[in-house]
């Protein structure tokens, strides 16, 4: 096509700060998102200290919390709300979509860059601004938002200033996601290399495409809801405020007539598809890593793709299964229970296909593969424990208990985050030209998977016993919680261990950038297009735009010398 190496050097701030190259933007996303995840995790450690050792001074950072170093209930609420917000909107989504998607998708489809480089840059900076607003909100009077990551009114409407900043921050983050989603869809539809037909697209690209559609069409209603809540807070409207609300024994001055349930509808219209935004890219990464390390084509690639499309659509029709306890009528409840049971089918299809793909493979147990293998049962536990929550009768007992926390953390923590680790280990050689250290990687994996189960498994036990997820004292004040209180200390120690086992990971990344083992352009002997270009890829990605001749996972094709057949390899005498 065109000469892709344009050699005029860019000045520092154009190259590293306000870059328009999808690879640099992907790295910016990655570094920012990993920092936020570390921060969000730290907030949780402070909370876990309080849960295990109620009303004892928090070590190390106690001086931040006041004279006696004890975590106060209102600060506990802030930390809880911000842990959720930061992990979901500033951590995992930017890492899965902004970083992995941005860096890898154009490479995997053989494109020189994203379709709209300036939009891509704007998308990162909108995300950055959203993050800054969220951080700043910790320092306003009353602290950061403290009405949960779901910001349910009426509590959120009468909450302190932090909530207003939360709303502004969310609007910046939504803007970022919308710009990103448009860019991803146009890039995948328009910039595919010649010969790269839909069924030849790597599964990772498919998951990113469906994810982008979810972001594009599910986020706007939350933006609408955010605007309405801002009006409630700033212009004294009553969209979400019912008439005659009593706060601290006094009737609240408000025009009334609004509905708190309206917020829940608008919020979950986004936030259920958001669950699939969190999980789909993770499935995509795991599929890439498994195909590569079993040296086999994925089993059932087409059903996986169709399941992903179906999953994307169905995710718009299940949201009110978060709302069984709002006094919903039986007809609507039956509808949402049915759709919820249906949506579990495509997830099971994908997960089963990934499991069956392992069958008969000569598996390479390197670090990315270990994390991908860890993902499978962890996501399985997360998914299956969700079924009782999708049925109204069981949900009455389990709603708002630690069971719910256990369920969705199994999906996103040892599920999505493990998949993201797999992706980092897998694509690190493409980004830097060096491989990460295997020993440190294995310590990271085994330590993490043991510790993380120590955190989340006891939550099921506590939740089944009926312990509420919102207790500052971890349930110590309740008779029914006494038998399961032992879980609090176990979980907190496991959380501390999990933090310790991230140290080898951080060291590994920093060390490997300069001192990792040097590798060639295709160290994993992979088939997809990103491995046909130098590591790191130059500006413009490919010296000449590639042409694609076959599907994405042509491993161990009978009658060939090598056990992998790159997508862009011209047919040789076949």
């Amino acid at each position: 096509m065109t000469e892709s190496n344009n050699h005029h050097e860019l000045v520092f701030w154009r190259k590293y700060i306000f870059s328009q190259d999808h690879k640099m933007i992907g790295l910016q996303y990655g570094i920012t998102a990993l920092s936020f995840m570390l921060f969000g995790f730290s907030l949780m450690l402070v909370m876990r200290w309080q849960l295990a050792y109620p009303e004892t001074p928090v070590p190390l950072i106690g001086w931040l919390l006041g004279d006696d170093g004890i975590l106060l209930p209102e600060v506990y609420n802030s930390l809880g709300a911000m842990h959720g917000t930061i992990m979901v909107f500033l951590g995992i989504v930017p890492l899965a979509v902004g970083a992995a998607g941005n860096y890898i998708v154009p490479l995997q489809i053989g494109a020189p860059d994203m379709a709209f480089p300036k939009l891509n840059m704007a998308s990162y900076w909108a995300y950055f601004i959203g993050g800054v607003i969220m951080i700043v909100s910790f320092f306003v009077p009353g602290g950061a938002a403290n009405s949960g990551w779901t910001s349910y009114p009426p509590l959120s409407v009468i909450a302190t200033t932090g909530q207003t900043l939360w709303l502004f921050g969310m609007i910046a983050l939504i803007t970022s996601s919308l710009l990103g989603a448009i860019n991803f869809i146009v890039t995948i539809v328009q910039l595919r290399a010649p010969g790269l037909t839909w069924m030849r697209l790597p599964f990772f690209v498919w998951t990113q495409l469906i994810t982008a559609f979810l972001l594009l069409l599910a986020f706007p209603p939350l933006e609408a809801a955010g605007v309405l809540q801002l009006m409630d807070r700033l212009a004294a409207t009553s969209f979400f405020m019912p008439s005659g609300l009593v706060v601290s024994g006094q009737i609240l001055e408000a025009s009334g007539g609004g509905s708190p349930i309206l917020w829940q509808h608008l919020f979950w219209f986004l936030a259920h598809p958001e669950v699939y935004v969190l999980i789909l890219p993770a499935m995509g990464i795991v599929a890439e890593v498994i195909a590569n390390n079993t040296r086999k084509p994925l089993w059932g690639l087409k059903p996986m793709i169709y399941s992903t499309i179906f999953l994307g659509f169905m995710s718009f029709t299940v949201w009110a299964h978060h709302m069984y306890m709002t006094g919903m009528g039986t007809t609507i409840s039956a509808f949402f229970q049915t759709t919820t049971m249906i949506i579990s089918i495509p997830s099971v299809v994908i997960l089963s296909a990934l499991f069956i793909s392992l069958w008969g493979g000569s598996i390479r147990f390197n670090t990315p593969m270990l994390f991908a293998l860890g993902f499978l049962p962890m996501f399985g536990i997360g998914g299956l424990t969700g079924l009782p929550l999708g049925l109204a009768a069981a949900d009455i007992h389990l709603h708002d208990t630690y069971y719910v926390i256990g369920h969705f953390h199994y999906v996103v923590a040892p599920g999505t985050i493990f998949a993201l680790f797999a992706g980092i280990y897998y694509w690190f050689p493409k980004v830097t030209g060096r491989r990460m250290n295997e020993t440190l990687g294995k310590i990271h994996f085994w330590g993490s998977i043991i510790a993380i189960n120590g955190i989340f498994f006891p939550m099921f036990i506590q939740g089944l016993a009926g312990v509420s997820r919102r207790m500052w004292d971890g349930g110590a004040g309740y008779a029914h919680a006494q038998d399961v209180l032992w879980g609090n200390e176990v979980m907190s120690i496991a959380a501390g261990m999990l933090m310790l086992f991230q140290i080898p990971f951080v060291i590994n990344i920093i060390r490997s950038i300069k001192h990792g083992e040097k590798v060639d352009d295709n160290p994993w002997q992979a088939t997809t297009l990103e491995w046909t270009t130098p590591s790191p890829p130059p500006h413009g990605n490919f010296a000449a735009l590639p042409t694609v001749y076959r599907g994405p996972y042509e491993y161990s094709v009978p009658g060939r010398d090598k056990d992998f057949w790159p997508q862009s390899d011209p047919e040789e005498g076949a």
């Binding site: 539809v189 069409l217 209603p221 019912p242 008439s243 005659g244 609300l245 007539g257 509905s259 349930i261 509808h265 219209f269 718009f316 029709t317 009110a320 709002t326 006094g327 919903m328 009528g329 039986t330 007809t331 609507i332 509808f335």
Partner: protein
């Protein structure tokens, strides 16, 4: 892309659409002053709005001559919109309206 020779013909189409839109605006306002039964009045106003909206989309946004991919995108979006409307209305009604405290 269309050639310049067809432009004057297009201009007439656009003006015709404008005339129709203006007329429908007057009709819908006039209908507002007639006291229809509540449901019928709402239906009339929404049908007219839909017709006007379709005219804008079909001619000004030249959807009549657009690619299939755009049609699919818009159909999908409208389907989601209908789902959202339907389920919002369904849950509002199934709840017996929103309990109001007096």
């Amino acid at each position: 892309m269309n050639t310049a020779s067809g432009a004057s013909g297009h201009a007439r189409t656009y003006l015709l659409v404008f005339g129709t839109l203006a007329m429908l605006t007057i009709v819908t306002v006039a209908a507002g002053y007639v006291s229809f039964p509540a449901g019928l009045g709402i239906a009339i106003a929404l049908v007219i709005a839909t017709v006007k909206g379709s005219l804008v989309a079909a001619y000004f946004m030249h959807l009549l001559h657009e690619q299939k991919a755009i049609y699919w995108l818009l159909l999908f979006t409208l389907l989601l919109l209908l789902i959202m409307f339907g389920l919002f209305i369904g849950s509002a009604l199934d709840q017996g309206g929103i309990p109001s405290v007096s």
